[in-house]
Every structure is written in structure tokens, then in C-alpha cells.
Subunit: 112 residues, 2 copies
DNA sequence: GTTTTATATAAGCAAATTATTATATAAGTG
DNA sequence: CACTTATATAATAATTTGCTTATATAAAAC
């Protein structure tokens, strides 16, 4: 079991202690996503989504890669926090239905 | 693996996303404690400690039992959140040294 | 090169969180 | 019963967080 300082762990837990960010990370655990997909999934503005992603990126939980005009976010498996994040995500129900809903609205394809 | 709604999980993660509360819960995982012991352990006022404990109690993560003039807090193993809390705590270093320090100051005995 | 699409960032503000100070309650002690 | 000890609660102040609005950047399309 990889161990983390309490201080660092509490930072990660606070980050994941937000419904939107926690759902984002759960989704990223099975599928990479771009910002516009998250904007479609959550009833939140684009800047709000960008700001959540930035927080996750700042601590290294997620990474970004540009692909054309899209920026694709993915879980950073090299992060020292990855083991903790993984065990937390295992307690959460699959969120694939959210991506399904997106596809039904024709919003998923746009970023592929 | 017991599953939790995202909404509920995020509430727990936010609660544990505080250094003081996270350390409290880690300590309670191996030893019951009273409020005055936590006041000794953390550089925080008694009301601040009480308020942290209240938040943990309100969601059912901890329980309290009065023993004379002391109120002893313990982890609530019946909580639906207990499995999630356990897996998180496994990633954290043991905090027994904090209780040791208390004993050396003669502050532990007072609550026994 | 202007326009559109995707995203980021900055500033301002409202809501939520945490700590402090003061006071209340409840048990134990002399 | 007055006094002390342990704890809780209420009010308030300070800090943090998350959202909105406006603007900037960067790539793609025309």
C-alpha cells in the first residue's frame, strides 16, 4: 500500500470532495475526454469546467494533450496520488451512462 | 466493493479533505479519543476541535459516548461510509506518535 | 486574413467554510 | 452549593471556494 503524507492526502481528498470534479475523475478513469464533452455532461459553463480541470491538473491528478483544437484530458497514472484515487474510484458507480447520453445528443462525436 | 452514490461520496471526501479532520479519523481508527486529547494533539482551540468532531458526527462517520465528564469519540463501523473511509485510511501513515507525544506531556492519562 | 470553435484566464462576487470569542451546559470536586 | 473541568453552541469575523462575465489565445475553416 503506497503511503501519502496526511497533508498531501487531504489536498487530494478536498479536490475530490466536489461532485463535479469527482464525477470527472470517475469518467476519466474509463475514457479520456475533452473540455467540450464535460461541458455537455455537466450543467455548468465552460469557464467553470475549465477551472475544475485546472485544479485537477495543478496537483497532477490529470494531464492534458492538445489534439487539434481540442484539449484532451486523461488521468495521470504516474501521479503519486494515483493509487489513492484508484481505491476511491472503486467505491463509485460507473458513470458511462453520462457519455451515452452525450452520444445520443450527438455531442460525443465532435471531439473524436 | 460497496458502492456509494457520487453525491454522498463527495460529501465524505470533502469532510476528510481537511488536515485536522483526516488526522482525527486516522487516529480514531486505532484509538478512541476524547475532545481534550484532540485539543492537546492539534494546535487548535477547543471550539475548533468540537466543530470538526460535530461535522464528522453529523454524517455518521464518528460516534460519541459520554464517560463521566469526558465525551469519547470513536469511528462508527456501522456507517455506510466506513468501507470508503477504511480504504482511504490505509493510504495514510500511522499517527500513533501523536498519542505518544501526548502521553509524554502527561495529557493522555487525564481522559482514561 | 477574417470568422468560428475550443479552451483558458482574469476580475468580481456570492456562498460556503473555518476559526475566534463569548457563553451555555453538564459532570465532578470540595 | 460554589468551583472547576470538559464540552457544546452561537455569533461573528476571516478565509476560501466556485461561479459568472468578460476577454484572451490558439487552431481550424472559409
Amino acid at each position: 500500500m503506497s503511503q501519502l503524507e496526511i497533508e498531501k492526502a487531504s489536498i487530494i481528498l478536498k479536490l475530490l470532495g466536489d461532485k463535479t470534479r469527482l464525477t470527472m475523475v470517475k469518467i476519466l478513469n474509463s475514457h479520456d475526454c475533452c473540455v467540450c464533452e464535460f461541458v455537455g455532461i455537466f450543467k455548468a459553463s465552460q469557464p467553470a469546467i475549465s477551472q475544475h480541470l485546472r485544479k485537477l491538473k495543478d496537483v497532477g491528478v490529470v494531464r492534458e494533450t492538445r489534439r487539434g483544437q481540442w484539449i484532451i484530458y486523461s488521468l495521470n497514472k504516474e501521479s503519486e496520488y494515483y493509487p489513492l484515487v484508484q481505491t476511491i474510484l472503486q467505491h463509485l458507480p460507473n458513470q458511462d451512462f453520462r457519455l451515452k447520453e452525450l452520444e445520443e445528443q450527438g455531442l460525443r462525436i465532435s471531439c473524436e
